[in-house]
């Protein structure tokens, strides 16, 4: 088990290093940030002076080594645009993004687990069709549109929900729905098909024949075995929500990391983009590692030290 974890951590470190190198090179290919920082009439001498101050006059490989060296000590530089330490900018935003992604994931599971399980148990029923429809709607509608629709209905017309911000627990509800509805369809399908397989297996039939109550059979024995692919998918979706919540964050003025990084991308604020991508990569690696480790807990037959 320890060997497995060490191997995965090492692989993860290589992935993070690779992501940091790719984003570092891509940002440099996007153009000169100084042109966007200084007023258009700024003399060339000032432009050059600014490039030197930011270290942009150095060869790219040298800039990368400086970045890596500083990053290892926890220094991600100063934002070109915000003139403040990137670490502060990222860490101040990260909790809001994790909070939103967690709430969105919870929402998606609250829908997809009962949808998938009940659809499998009552295959072809009205509930099966209803669940499919609700799930497919989430996948068919862009999340910014869902967000605006929620604001229109629940904030403006019904006046039940706040339209923007992150001040109270109520503020997370609509952004979580807008972000978490999309994966419901895929998760429901995964749960449903896994449940259909498991429900046909011998041990379930055996359980039924010895009189184990149907609820216990379905939720305790069948669902546990059907959960492994769902957990895999959850990990991937959670990680992509952390990095991909930009649109929802903008719609609901949610003070998260995605909005910060995308705005930085447009402003060629290299240090913020680099740090943001680095953190997203770390989150992906951690989420996948946790998913791998959780397999053993869900299904004791899976052992990583074999």
């Amino acid at each position: 088990m320890t060997q497995f974890v060490l191997r995965r951590v090492l692989q993860g470190l290589f992935s993070i290093l690779g992501a940091s190198l790719i984003i570092f090179v891509i940002t440099r290919l996007s153009g000169d940030p100084v042109v966007l920082m200084l007023p258009p009439e700024a003399p060339e001498a000032l432009v050059q002076q600014m490039r030197e101050r930011l270290g942009l006059h150095l060869p790219v490989w040298q800039q990368y080594l400086v970045f890596l060296g500083d990053a290892l000590t926890g220094d991600f530089g100063t934002s070109y645009r915000w003139d403040m330490p990137v670490r502060d900018l990222i860490f101040e935003r990260l909790p809001a993004t994790i909070y939103l992604a967690s709430a969105a994931l919870a929402f998606s599971l609250v829908l997809s687990i009962p949808f998938g399980v009940i659809s499998a148990v009552r295959r072809g029923s009205w509930f099966d069709r209803f669940a499919k429809t609700v799930a497919m709607l989430g996948q068919a509608m862009p999340n910014f549109w869902v967000g605006l629709l929620l604001i229109l209905v629940f904030s403006i017309h019904l006046e039940w929900m706040p339209a923007f911000g992150a001040d109270t627990p109520a503020h997370v509800i609509m952004p979580a729905i807008a972000l978490g509805w999309y994966p419901v369809a895929a998760q429901t399908r995964i749960v449903r098909s896994a449940m259909l397989d498991v429900l046909e297996s011998d041990y379930i039939r055996m359980g039924r024949s010895v009189g184990v109550p149907e609820g216990v059979l379905v939720w305790k024995y069948a669902f546990r075995n059907a959960a492994v692919p769902l957990v895999t998918m959850m990990g991937v979706y959670f990680a992509s929500m952390l990095g991909g919540a930009f649109v929802v964050e903008v719609v609901f003025a949610w003070p998260g990391l995605g909005r910060t990084v995308v705005e930085a991308l447009f402003a060629r604020d290299f240090p913020v983009v680099q740090a943001g991508v680095l953190f997203a990569a770390i989150m992906f690696v951690i989420a996948n590692l946790l998913v791998d480790l959780s397999y053993g807990l869900i299904d004791p037959r899976i052992r990583h030290d074999r």
Binding site: P40, L148, F164, G165, A253
Partner: protein, 528 residues
């Protein structure tokens, strides 16, 4: 010797007030006002600001020596009086008397030493991105606590045009707390004082009790500025009552907003000036003045503004009304496709020609992509057949920049913009896109024109500090630019609409982009 005493010079105002505007008539500061802005300042330190958006926050807490007023005049603000001493016309001196009795938010009195400190910070390229604006100042002389002089190496017209440039920053407080702490907790002389900030969320301000200007001051106790980048959400927040005031109502929603009960609006021209730039450097059709004039007659800007911008734009001819150098005799080119085709034929292009047309798609202004597409489509009808290339902001600005390292326009057209400000002054913009490119000197950094006569006229105008002479010089440049359609075909200024809850909020719009979000005069009609 000429010594010119300048008071509040009248400047015509280009402002359209569409909604009910309430005069503040409140006796005491009370209650909190919640406002929402679409964009956020990146800094609260006036010496570090990099773009117009930064003035949203800086201008609430800090002040300058002069200020444009709602009635269109330029008032002496922190300057009680000022003058230009041109005893030696090559080395003028600006002499400033500071208004007595002004205090910073911490109670420190404003003195000449504070302005000297501001000058030092604003001229330091390691601090300010606009340090070149101070490059013509040779030295700062303190005469006494409330009196200082700026000695210039050479005349600098932009210094006067930009309200004497200097922001009042507290020297003692800054030296006590340091650079970083000053940026986190700024202190100025402005009507609002800093309480707290959460980046990307909100800025909380409190009224400055000892504010010096009794006539123009906020009448609310607290101001909470929320950041809502999405237009529709910002409008929804006003509708639900979560905020009392919003900026930048999207053009497509303006009619809906205006039809709501209890909502007042004010529409004002933005400081940005848009134009269709033409690359006249390489051999090609655009070198011919008749082709450029044909293009000017070939686009129905009024129709485009009405249909694409829902009327949220106003045309201008070189310089907007109210700005220095405005010439009432110049009218925007009228739409006349027959004349356009005749001009093309006279220029030797009876069948028209193909051309690259570069279009900005990043929404720096509302519907900018569609505006460019509509203009290029109109040109197709007169025979100027555009191959439209859509570009995001970073690539677009690279392409427009005259730099050995960047790709050039190749004799094409590009939708472009350069803020002249409001009330406005075109000198810096023209120095950038009308003067020939001169590497290292800051001239023509985005210019696709090579005309020695314009170079001479622009350089001469840059040295004229006396307003009337300067206006005359700029008018002359504008008239020639208009006739030759060089340095771009001027198209429109975007209009920006603010909306607020009229039943609750009393708000006086200060119709200048740098000041309309400073909330100089805002209050609650009934305290919460």
């Amino acid at each position: 010797m000429s010594r010119i005493r300048l008071g509040a010079s009248a400047v015509a105002l280009s402002c359209v007030i569409l909604g009910g505007v309430s005069a503040p008539a409140l006796a005491e500061q009370s209650g909190r006002i919640n406002v929402a802005l679409g964009a956020e300042s990146t800094t609260m330190d006036p010496a570090r600001y990099s773009a117009g958006v930064d003035q949203y926050y800086v201008g609430t807490m800090f002040e300058m020596l002069l200020k444009p007023m709602p009635d269109g005049t330029i008032a002496n603000w922190l300057a009680e009086s000022w003058s230009i001493d041109e005893t030696n016309p090559d080395k003028p001196i600006i002499d400033v008397h500071i208004r007595p009795g002004v205090t910073f938010h911490n109670g420190d009195p404003l003195t000449a030493a504070d302005f000297e400190f501001s000058y030092q910070r604003q001229s330091d390229p390691n601090v300010s991105r606009w340090s070149h604006y101070q490059s013509n100042v040779e030295r700062f002389e303190i005469v006494d606590d409330l009196h200082f002089r700026l000695h210039f190496k050479q005349p600098d017209s932009s210094y006067v045009a930009n309200y004497l440039q200097l922001w009042a920053m507290p020297k003692d407080y800054f030296q006590e707390v340091g650079d970083e702490a000053f940026g986190r907790h700024p202190i100025g002389t402005g009507p609002w004082k800093f309480v707290s900030r959460r980046v990307k969320e909100e800025l909380l301000l409190e009224a400055h009790d000892d504010y010096w200007n009794e006539e123009h001051r906020p009448e609310a106790k607290e101001l909470r500025i929320r950041i809502i980048p999405e237009d529709l959400t910002r409008v929804a927040a006003l509708q639900t009552g979560e905020v009392d005031w919003i900026d930048a109502v999207p053009p497509a929603m303006l009619e809906d907003i205006k039809s709501l009960d209890g909502i007042a609006t004010a529409t004002m021209p933005a400081g940005n000036h848009l134009f269709l730039d033409m690359d006249t450097i390489p051999e090609g059709p655009l070198q011919n003045v008749k082709v450029r004039q044909a293009i000017a007659h070939g686009v129905d800007m009024d129709a485009i503004i009405e249909s694409v911008l829902f009327g949220q734009g106003q045309r201008y001819a070189q310089v907007a009304e109210g700005a220095t150098g405005y010439n009432p005799d110049l009218e925007p080119y009228d739409y006349d496709p027959a004349k356009a085709m005749q001009l093309l034929a006279e220029a030797g292009y009876p069948q028209g020609f193909d051309i690259d047309c570069y279009n900005l798609i990043t929404p720096r202004e509302p519907n900018i992509k569609e505006m460019g597409e509509a203009m290029f489509a109109y040109l197709g009808t007169i025979g100027v057949r555009c191959k439209v290339v859509n570009m995001e902001y970073g690539a677009w600005i690279n392409l427009g920049r005259r730099d050995e390292q960047t790709e050039q326009l190749n004799g094409g057209l590009i939708s472009w913009m350069w803020g002249q400000g409001v009330p406005g002054d075109p000198a810096i913009a023209w120095g950038g896109h009308l003067h020939s490119y001169e590497p290292g000197k800051g001239w023509g950094s985005y210019s696709h024109v090579d005309d020695p006569e314009f170079d001479r006229m622009i350089e001469d105008a840059a040295k004229i500090m006396e307003p009337e002479a300067r206006t005359a010089a700029l008018r002359e440049i504008g008239a020639r630019k208009h006739e030759l359609v060089l340095g771009g075909l001027t198209t429109y200024q975007p209009l920006v609409t603010m909306a607020w809850n009229d039943a609750k909020v009393s708000y006086t719009p200060w119709p200048y982009p740098g000041f309309w979000r400073n909330f100089q005069e805002i209050g609650l009609k009934s305290a919460d």
